[in-house]
């Protein structure tokens, strides 16, 4: 039924003939109470879901500390063959935190890439760049070979067969008091240019370095 109030709509509740409304009210008390109850419920729910969610996804943004692991005396490692060394990636969880690294002394005749001039030793991971299975250095063939899906890498860790999308990752090395030390992992593209460490299966050539960004948890 049209009335003069419909012709002149007002935001004030009194003009809208709402019973019990005070003059000057813009929101009815019922709406206000409904909104308050819903708002309080939302705050109560968010006060435990948001911290729990942040707690669960927090490790994505937490960076891992930089560690140096001793591999052995410098004279242990030749410059034309790899020596397998077990180092600890994650301390405190026993065998599950260890990984195998292949180490040799830098050989100017072999390591001719223009990116890596500072490190005295070459340390190559045993994690296949396809999906992370452990590769094995086969001395006779001078190849790293992965047992899972047939990835094959040459002496420098560059893929020469199978599904791997980039060369084997490497580790920073240094010599302290006659001992070779192994530091953090880094990834390399097909020209052995250095990148922040990526997970296996993530290519680094062309668009790959942008499709698989480096993560804050292991960016260096």
């Amino acid at each position: 039924m049209p009335s003069q109030h419909d012709k002149h709509p007002s935001k004030y509740t009194l003009d809208r003939r709402i019973p019990g409304a005070f003059e000057g009210e813009t929101v009815t008390r019922r709406r206000f109470m409904t909104g308050t109850a819903h708002g309080a419920g939302a705050i109560a729910a968010l006060s435990f879901t948001l911290p729990a969610l942040g707690f669960a996804i927090g490790p994505i943004f937490k960076s891992t500390p930089h560690r140096w692991e001793t591999a052995g005396p410098t004279e242990l490692f030749p410059d034309n063959n790899y020596i397998p060394v077990v180092i600890t990636l994650t301390p405190g969880i026993g065998e599950a935190g260890k990984t195998l690294v292949y180490v040799r002394r830098k050989n100017p005749a072999i390591d001719t890439d223009r990116y890596d001039r500072t490190m005295p030793y070459i340390a190559i991971t045993s994690r296949c760049a396809h999906l992370g299975c452990p590769v094995r250095w086969v001395d006779a063939a001078e190849r790293f070979i992965c047992p899972c899906h047939g990835g094959v890498y040459d002496l420098l860790g560059r893929p020469v067969g199978g599904p791997p999308v980039r060369p084997l990752d490497r580790f920073y090395t240094r010599v302290v008091d006659g001992e070779v030390q192994i530091g953090s992992r880094f990834s390399v593209n097909s020209e052995l240019r250095r990148f922040s460490p990526r997970d296996p299966g993530e290519p680094l050539d062309g668009i790959g370095q942008y499709a698989y960004p480096s993560r804050p948890s292991i960016r260096r």
Binding site: T90, I93, G132, C133, P200, Y212, P213, S217
Partner: protein, 267 residues
């Protein structure tokens, strides 16, 4: 016709119980017990009205031609219940300790606990059975056209349940923490990581860090036994509600019966 002689049964079993009111006024003990049970059910029903819901859920009309293929959904649910029950009791022995305790606790369950090998076997093989049944159930739904209007939402819920079942398989595979579990999880997490842009972050979320770390196993364990089972149970409830609400479909080969009047006019 001559009657067969009565078998020599013990005396208490010989006399057929008289119907209520037919006897000589004495109420036998089992009648008391039956009346007690009815009284309890009545007491609950008067306060909850659950009998109506039970009737609504269980005494439904099903289409002509309903056959054994329609039991695949229930079979999947019972496979899930098997996983839930055996999993709860396996959790009494399992320790998500990556430095050797996890493997040792699984070895203990398998070799030393009474019926441990059986319960663990039910859980291990039941997981495969559940995945197989999920796919058979999905195939039945697809080939019978049971995903069509008005049941699309139930198909969507079913797909989410399929994905959650896969999450259960993936996270449960790590828990024995032997060589196969470890390397399969490394490979599985890295497969997740090959998704562009978000993949690397998903890997970090699953591992709880950039490398397989101290909390990866407990993370997988919590997802496997708390997070996903709760979601699956809730979604199975929604799935069943929609089945009861919308009813089941007739098989595609069954034809609608014609109205008798139309049939006569056709002749």
């Amino acid at each position: 016709m001559p009657k067969l002689p009565a078998p020599p049964v013990p005396k208490p079993l010989q006399a057929p119980p008289p119907r209520p009111g037919e006897g000589n006024g004495t109420v036998r003990p089992h009648e008391h017990a039956a009346h007690g049970g009815i009284a309890v059910v009545d007491w609950v029903d008067e306060r909850t009205s659950l009998s109506g819901a039970a009737r609504w859920l269980m005494f439904r009309k099903v289409p002509k031609g309903t056959n054994w293929f329609y039991t695949l959904g229930s079979a999947t649910m019972f496979a899930f219940l098997n996983q839930a029950v055996t999993g709860v009791f396996l959790a009494m022995y399992y320790r998500p300790d990556p430095s050797g305790g996890a493997y040792e606790s699984v070895r203990y369950v398998t070799n030393d606990v009474f019926l441990g090998q059986f319960v663990r076997g039910m859980h291990k093989w039941g997981s495969t059975v559940m995945v197989v049944l999920v796919f058979l159930h999905m195939g039945r739904t697809f080939f019978f056209g049971a995903y069509k209007y008005p049941r699309e939402l139930n198909w969507v819920i079913g797909v989410v349940l399929l994905i959650l079942t896969m999450v259960m398989s993936f996270t449960g595979y790590l828990l024995p923490f032997d060589q196969r579990a470890y390397w399969a999880t490394i490979v599985g997490v890295n497969i997740n990581g090959t998704g562009p842009l978000l993949g690397p972050y998903l890997s970090d979320f699953l591992r709880g860090g950039p490398e397989f770390g101290a909390t990866t196993l407990s993370r997988f364990y919590a997802i496997h036994m708390l997070l996903v089972p709760g979601l699956i149970a809730a979604l199975i409830g929604a799935h069943l509600y929609l089945v009861a609400k919308l009813g089941t479909t007739a098989p595609p080969w069954s034809k609608a019966e014609k109205d008798p009047e139309l049939r006569e006019s056709e002749v």
